[in-house]
């Protein structure tokens, strides 16, 4: 938690303060969530500046619609969802034009998991960021957010099979990247 936030103030207090228009609470809530939300936005954005734009837009939406938060679920999850929705609105439909159908849902699994485990989060994040846009979206939604292919298809207005194929390709690319880093390490 930010040093600006008194210990006695929890997330709920901050939310209530924000609802009353308290700028300090707004700032503290932003600083509380911003680092994690930046990671979320980086996973979806094509580059760092786009990630910043997504995050800024997402936080503005969050503050404007804060009264709609029902306090029933995780507040962080609610904000994360806003960020993802903001990111998805920026997605170009061109990303899914060159879909391939019928690619086997398997890949070379000769990856040493210990190598992946030793990789830093930043290295892993960089790999995800380097994925082609369509692959990256599906990978993030399926793996990170837990969407089903059906939900992804509805969200991105693509077919379920397209979603599956994009996921396979994403995994393959990531596998290759890990293997490449494995060889370098050896």
């Amino acid at each position: 938690m930010s040093p600006l936030i008194p210990d006695s103030l929890n997330e709920k207090d901050l939310i209530n303060g924000c609802l009353k228009g308290d700028r300090n609470c707004q700032k503290n809530l932003f600083e509380l969530l911003a680092p994690k939300m930046m990671t979320v936005c980086r996973r979806y954005a094509r580059h760092h500046l786009e990630a910043q734009d997504m995050m800024q837009e997402g936080f503005i939406k969050m503050f404007i619609n804060l009264e709609k938060f029902s306090h029933e679920g995780s507040f962080e999850g609610w904000v994360r969802r806003i960020m993802i929705n903001t990111a998805l609105k920026k997605v170009s439909r061109k990303s899914f034009k060159n879909e391939e159908i019928g690619i086997a849902d398997h890949y070379d699994n000769s990856i040493d998991e210990t190598i992946v485990a030793k990789m830093s989060a930043d290295e892993v994040l960089l790999m995800v960021e380097e994925l082609p846009e369509g692959y990256r979206l599906v990978f993030n939604m399926y793996v990170m957010e837990g969407y089903s292919h059906k939900e992804i298809g509805q969200e991105l207005n693509i077919g379920e099979s397209t979603s599956r194929s994009q996921l396979v390709k994403a995994r393959r690319i990531l596998q290759n990247k890990i293997l490449a880093s494995q060889k370098i390490a050896v």
């Binding site: 700032k27 910043q52 734009d53 699994n109 485990a117 399926y142």
Partner: protein
């Protein structure tokens, strides 16, 4: 296997935190908590212009209306007096001067009549400076009874008899007479108005005589002509401007019979009716014993008023010409930073600059040449130096100080060199300045308000010759940087010339001694063009509010 692979990624990234720009909150804050302070930059100039225009409007209206609307009949008379006063000014001599616009025959008789009718009784040894004769020769049909003197209404002039009246005036002036023939629509009578107005320079008395040649049939007198009035001109330099700062009061009112031998009535309690502009004479009737005038065919009415030793300060006549103004002005500058695009980085940069820069007392110095026309219009041109001061305050949280310790032996040789760094915050408080050298080109209007004061209004442009900016700011990359051109690796954000700015002021002048005035001018200057370069993502303008204080000398 896929799930394991996915799990590895998820576990690595789910709680991962990434750095974000420190300026992002400022941009968000600006969006969700919009501010209104920039409105002042537009409200101030608009309010200033509105006040200036309103002032000029009221000014002109007041001075015009006060001269023309008090009494309709005085319109013509005032014109005659003003015309003669101009001549009087041009030929300002100590000798007794007589302006008699009546025919020579009338002139002699009237002046003679005045002396006989007792002016000497009230003003001994008077030097006659002015004597405007208006002869009332209206016929009395004996039915109306009311006598009106000096009635030549403005409406009459405007509606139907303007041309005729002007023609008459022109003709009569040429013939050295002020006889004004006017046919009144309501009575059909023909009025020849005669009035004597005398200023005695030695005794500081002004005597207004109104000669009534017709009889009165009723116990009342209706006068619609004021005894004294101010000039109807908007110029501040009219001699006709009566010294209204004095407490005017009548010393004596005398009504005489037509032979001038007998004082019919007199009164001295005219204070109530003589206000700043002197009410029409009908207000005097309560002070006079009108009953005694019933059978009088002709009488004179004299009102003796105190005036200044000279009815116009000498310096007023010297106001026209060329002046040099020297001034200094403390100023307060309001900065306006506006983003050229609405992207988040630009807005964040704008916010960062607004948060780190604050206004400090600024100033202007300069000199202007002023040419003042007889109508009160002034033209000014000169040289002006302005310096807008601001303070840059910034705490750099990631400052690194590098220390180097060098061990030297007895021979002066270096044994070892130890370098270490110290990390911490560093506070920057930098005085920023925006300097400009300009040519002011102004047009103004001055109005003499009586006594030793004048008011003025000025407006115009400042043409920038050169400008220089010195100081530090947060540059668009989010790091502190110099924008001073002489610094190494400075960020070039500003132009060398800030173009044209707009200036307006309202001033008050105190005529200190002959040829020297002291003035104060609340002023406003709006920098119409951005100081920043096109390549810089923000527009930067200023509005300054100041108080120009200085002295001016007449060549």
């Amino acid at each position: 296997m896929n799930k394991d692979f996915d799990h590895i990624f998820k576990s690595k990234l789910e709680q991962h935190e990434s750095p974000y720009p420190s300026t992002m909150w400022d941009a968000i804050d600006k969006e969700i908590n919009p501010r209104k302070k920039n409105r002042a930059l537009f409200i101030f100039p608009m309010a200033f212009l509105a006040i200036a225009l309103l002032s000029i409007l009221v000014w002109n209206t007041y001075f015009t209306e006060s001269a023309t609307s008090q009494d309709n009949s005085s319109y013509v008379i005032s014109d005659i007096l003003s015309s003669e006063d101009k001549t009087s000014l041009a030929d300002k001599q100590n000798k007794a001067i007589s302006y008699n616009e009546n025919s020579p025959d009338q002139d002699d008789s009237v002046i003679s009549s005045k002396e006989e009718n007792g002016i000497r009784n009230s003003v001994q040894q008077s030097n006659i400076l002015k004597s405007v004769i208006i002869d009332d020769a209206s016929t009395d049909d004996g039915t109306t009874g009311d006598m009106t003197i000096g009635v030549m209404t403005k409406d009459d002039l405007i509606k139907g008899n303007v041309a005729k009246a002007n023609e008459n005036l022109t003709t009569k002036r040429r013939e050295n007479t002020t006889e004004v023939n006017n046919t009144l629509a309501n009575t059909g009578s023909k009025n020849n108005i005669t009035s004597n107005r005398l200023v005695d320079q030695n005794t500081a008395l002004e005597i207004t005589k109104i000669k009534m040649q017709k009889s009165l049939r009723r116990n009342s007198i209706t006068f619609s002509q004021p005894l004294l009035r101010e000039s109807n001109s908007s110029s501040i330099y009219k001699k006709e401007s009566f010294p209204t700062d004095q407490n005017l009061r009548s010393d004596k009112v005398v009504v005489r019979d037509n032979d001038g031998d007998r004082e019919i009535s007199s009164g001295t309690n005219l204070n109530n009716s003589l206000t700043r502009y002197l009410n029409p004479i009908q207000d005097l009737k309560s002070d006079l014993n009108i009953e005694s005038l019933r059978e009088i065919e002709e009488f004179d009415l004299e009102v003796v008023l105190p005036v200044a030793a000279t009815d116009c300060p000498s310096w007023v006549n010297e106001k026209l010409g060329l002046y040099l103004e020297i001034y200094g002005a403390p100023e307060f500058a309001m900065s306006a930073l506006t983003a050229k695009s609405r992207d988040s980085m630009t807005i964040a940069h704008q916010q960062m600059r607004e948060d780190t820069e604050s206004s400090r007392m600024s100033y202007s110095l300069g000199g202007r040449l002023l040419f003042l026309t007889p109508s009160g219009i002034s033209f000014k041109i000169g040289m002006n130096y302005s310096q807008i001061n601001e303070k840059f305050s910034w705490v750099d949280p990631e400052t690194e100080r590098v220390f180097t310790i060098e061990d030297i032996d007895q021979n002066g040789d270096t044994i070892s060199v130890t370098t270490y760094s110290e990390f911490g915050s560093e506070v920057f408080n930098i005085a920023n300045s925006y300097k400009s050298l300009d040519i002011p080109i102004l047009i103004g209007f001055e109005k003499y308000t009586g006594s030793k004061f004048s008011l003025s209004a000025n407006a115009g442009i400042y043409v920038n010759i050169t400008s220089e900016q010195r100081g530090m700011f947060i540059d668009p990359t989010g790091t502190r940087n110099w924008f001073t051109s002489s610094e190494d690796d400075f960020y070039k954000a500003y132009k060398n010339s800030v173009g044209i700015s707009f200036f307006g002021s309202l001033g008050m002048m105190y005529h200190w001694v002959e040829g020297i005035d002291i003035f104060m001018e609340p002023s406003l200057r709006y920098y119409g063009q951005s100081m920043s370069l096109k390549s810089y993502p923000l527009n930067h303008r200023f509005v300054t509010v100041g108080l120009h204080t200085g002295i001016r000398y007449r060549f």
